[in-house]
């Protein structure tokens, strides 16, 4: 038979289903407007979430590199300022020491030697610099300062130079001690060089400078020779004492280049760290923009969608109300 009727349930079902569908859409759009994130990121990425995850992983790693560049920059800055201090202490006394044989009286030599002994203490203090609890010239043994006290250093040198009668012998003994692994090598309390610190993807900063660096070691030797005079080496032989002071001055003068080279080397690392830092920051910014592009919902688009669905839902409510009143029963009264 030909049907001329439509079951009541049919219309109810259709209206209910469309209502549920629209309410779901409204909810999703409202969520996207409120959170700024896609309600279903997997669907937006069509199942391939690898690009988004790669961006997130890079952002996380860049945050770690940011911490590392800050640490490494702090370490190199501390080294740099210690070496600058060393150079300043050395240049303040070099000329005086070099003139001790020709211009100075033995009494003046004694005063200069006492000054050098004080400066040696300062130099040791500077090499023992710590940056945020980390001894910067100790290599891997970051928990220990690299050098003992300056008086211990001088005592060790005195023992090494015992019996010397000329300035040349003292110089040889001092240089020998500093070159000896059992001499200065044993006096050095730090460890092997630090391994390079990762500061950017695939890039590491060389933080290998320790107190064993020849520039630092020879500077120490220069100061120590002058300071030994104040400790009473070659006592009674004013001429040899003045000569030793002069050798000390010459040593300090000679090592100036090495100190500058060292400062330049650390400066290069500082520059590298700084470059890495700004590059990382730029990368993080552009990745952040990319992340928003990929992973964030467009609030205007979501708001427009919300408005559309709201209008549709209102229309549906109106239709539902009107249709519900369309019943023959109502008119049969």
């Amino acid at each position: 038979m030909t049907r001329i009727s439509v079951g009541d349930a049919s219309l109810t079902n259709i209206l209910a289903r469309q209502g549920a569908d629209l309410r779901g859409q409204v909810q999703r759009a409202a969520q996207e407007v409120a959170t700024g994130r896609h309600a279903d990121i997997g669907k937006v990425m069509r199942g391939d979430v690898a690009p988004l995850l790669a961006v997130d992983a890079s952002l996380a790693r860049l945050a770690a590199y940011k911490t590392n560049t800050t640490d490494a920059a702090f370490q190199t800055a501390a080294q740099q300022s210690a070496i600058a201090g060393l150079s300043q202490l050395a240049s303040g006394i070099t000329m005086t020491l070099m003139g001790s044989r020709d211009v100075q009286t033995p009494a003046q030599v004694n005063v200069t030697a006492a000054d050098a002994r004080g400066r040696l203490a300062s130099v040791v203090g500077m090499i023992n610099t710590q940056a945020s609890g980390r001894a910067v010239f100790s290599g891997v043994a970051t928990d220990r300062v690299p050098l003992g006290g300056s008086e211990d250093l001088l005592a060790a040198l005195e023992t090494a130079a015992a019996g010397s009668t000329t300035a040349g012998q003292v110089e040889a003994a001092v240089n020998g001690w500093f070159a000896d692994p059992l001499g200065f090598g044993a006096f050095y309390q730090g460890g092997a060089s630090l391994s390079a610190a990762p500061i950017a993807p695939g890039e590491a900063a060389d933080l290998s400078t320790t107190a064993l660096d020849p520039a630092i070691r020879d500077t120490l030797a220069g100061f120590a020779m002058a300071a030994l005079i104040d400790r009473g080496v070659l006592a009674g032989n004013a001429d040899e004492r003045a000569r030793l002071a002069q050798i000390a001055g010459q040593t300090l003068h000679r090592t100036e280049d090495a100190r500058i080279t060292l400062a330049a080397r650390i400066g290069t690392v500082e520059a590298q760290i700084e470059t890495a830092r700004s590059r990382n920051a730029a990368e993080a910014t552009s990745l952040g923009i990319l992340r928003s592009d990929i992973g964030s919902a467009d609030p205007y688009e979501a708001a427009t969608r919300l408005e559309t669905f709201r209008t549709q839902l209102e229309a549906l409510y109106l239709v539902t109300a009107r249709v519900a009143r369309l019943s023959l029963t109502e008119f049969l009264r």
């Binding site: 349930a9 945050a63 590392n68 980390r134 891997v140």
Partner: protein
């Protein structure tokens, strides 16, 4: 005789109209009853000895479109099947974490990576070593939580199979009893519409679990077969056997033992593949979740766990060859033959874990280090980071070949879960649309109260007309009686 015939005819009209009103009232009352099919009273001219004798009620017919019903049942089964699969795959995606979720596996890995980089930059920092251990544990916790979730989903699938089978058995038994009742009532010529409605409702319930084909037999009997061909109801109800398991571990499968298959009347049937007669509804989908989908999801997690273990094994110069590295299988070294469920068993090496009596410095100095070494030594930490980010081939199956870093592997797993979920959902919405269309068609054939009201008007009129005829006949008889006075 003709006047009395007129009276009898009008009377038959009245009773037919009452019968129609009765059926109409039942239609209107059941306008919203699910599974109720519209009834119609069949009328015919009553003929007695070759002459018209008014109207007679031929019977009550149920207005059912059998073809549509069959289609809808199959669509319903398909919808149930897709729902179960999509629900599981969505759960897997959720448990691994969507890409923008801060507790996703990828996010946990990113923090571990970050901690390793920071720690290599400042190896003496206790806080950073601690964060390496903490983020490593969080990564393992993510894998373990996903494992637990997947295994729980398997256990719940197993339980639901048990429930479905119980429901099938009970419903089949009820159907069998209805068949018996219908046979005797039909034989006695009684109105069986209500019983037919009830039987249709029960078959609907079964067809959500397994798609069935209904074969009509004489005397209002039906036989039921699954679309795949297994007999469910033929003379007597089939008995379906299944044994649920209390807890499920990753190693248990139907093939290797531990999990039950299905039997019909004691005969075992396949639960997967083209030979299986029970596919197409929730039952088949639950078997698929328990035996295929979850096993594959778990396999991927285990492959990731194995990759993680192997990346960090053999890095550490303080360890003997073959000893467990940073990540261990429940504390010991990993055995390649024991990969199933590894994701749930990962532990941080006890030597480096303070909560297991170890010490953090071993993360930096080597797991076999007896005493703490120089605190600034970042060599091993940097090596750990490059082991994590380096590309290496996978030892496990289930992935496309090629070298991957662990981050790529993780994002492969997440993308995979996302893609599977999306395709399952698109199939789900496709089958839902089909089911909706068929349900709408079925609903259109349902009760239309407007139409019933219209018929009510007709009935009123015809009742009044029949009554009027009786009144007129009575008047005519009165006239005749008056003539005799």
């Amino acid at each position: 005789m003709s006047i009395t015939s007129a009276l009898a005819g009008a009377l038959s009209g009245l009773s037919a109209t009452s019968r129609q009103a009765e059926i109409l009232s039942s239609n209107v009352a059941n306008a919203t009853t699910p599974g109720f099919a519209r009834r119609e009273v069949g009328l015919g001219a009553a003929v007695l000895a070759g002459q018209g004798q008014g109207v007679q009620v031929l019977g009550v017919t149920r207005d059912v479109d059998r073809h549509l019903l069959g289609e809808r049942r199959i669509a319903q089964a398909g919808g149930g099947d897709r729902d179960v699969r999509a629900e599981f795959l969505k759960r897997v995606e959720q448990t691994l974490g969507t890409a923008d979720n801060p507790s996703s596996l990828a996010a946990r890995l990113a923090t571990f990576d970050q901690a390793l980089v920071e720690s290599a930059g400042r190896p003496e920092s206790q806080a950073r070593l601690n964060s390496v251990a903490a983020t490593a544990k969080s990564l393992m916790a993510g894998l373990a939580a996903a494992t637990t979730d997947i295994q729980n989903a398997r256990a719940s699938a197993d339980r639901r199979i048990g429930e479905d089978v119980g429901k099938l058995n009970a419903t089949l038994q009820q159907l069998h009893e209805l068949n018996v009742n219908l046979r005797s009532f039909t034989g006695a010529g009684r109105d069986v519409s209500a019983l037919l409605d009830e039987r249709q409702r029960l078959v609907d319930q079964i067809s959500a679990i397994v798609p069935v084909r209904e074969v009509p037999r004489d005397l209002n009997q039906i036989a039921l077969f699954t679309v795949g061909g297994a007999p469910l109801l033929e003379g007597s109800a089939a008995v379906i056997g299944f044994t649920p398991v209390h807890t499920i571990t990753p190693e248990m499968t139907q093939a290797l033992g531990g999990l039950s298959g299905i039997t019909i009347n004691g005969r075992p049937y396949e639960t997967a593949g083209s030979a299986s007669p029970i596919l197409g509804g929730t039952l088949g989908a639950l078997f698929s979740v328990r035996d295929e989908l979850s096993v594959s999801a778990q396999g991927k997690l285990d492959a990731a766990a194995r990759d993680l273990v192997e990346r960090f094994a053999g890095l550490d110069p303080t360890l003997a060859p073959g000893a467990a590295g940073l990540f261990t299988d429940g504390g010991g070294a990993f055995d390649p033959l024991n990969e199933a469920g590894l994701a749930g068993r990962l532990r941080l090496n006890a030597a480096a874990d303070p909560t297991q009596g170890g010490a953090l410095f071993r993360l930096r100095d080597g797991l076999g280090a007896a005493t703490e070494g120089p605190p600034g030594n970042g060599t091993l930490l940097a090596a750990l980071h490059s082991a994590l980010t380096g590309a290496r081939p996978l030892a496990s199956t289930g992935f496309a070949a090629g070298n991957r870093s662990f981050a790529v592997l993780t994002s492969d797993i997440l993308s995979d879960a996302s893609a599977l979920r999306l395709s399952a959902q698109s199939e789900q919405s496709f089958s839902a649309a089909r089911l909706t269309a068929l349900t709408d068609l079925e609903a259109q054939n349902g009760i239309d109260t407007d139409r019933e009201m219209q018929e009510l008007l007709v009935l009123e009129k015809s009742y009044a007309a029949n009554a009027k005829v009786i009144q007129a006949v009575a008047d005519m008889i009165d006239i005749l009686i008056r003539l005799g006075r």
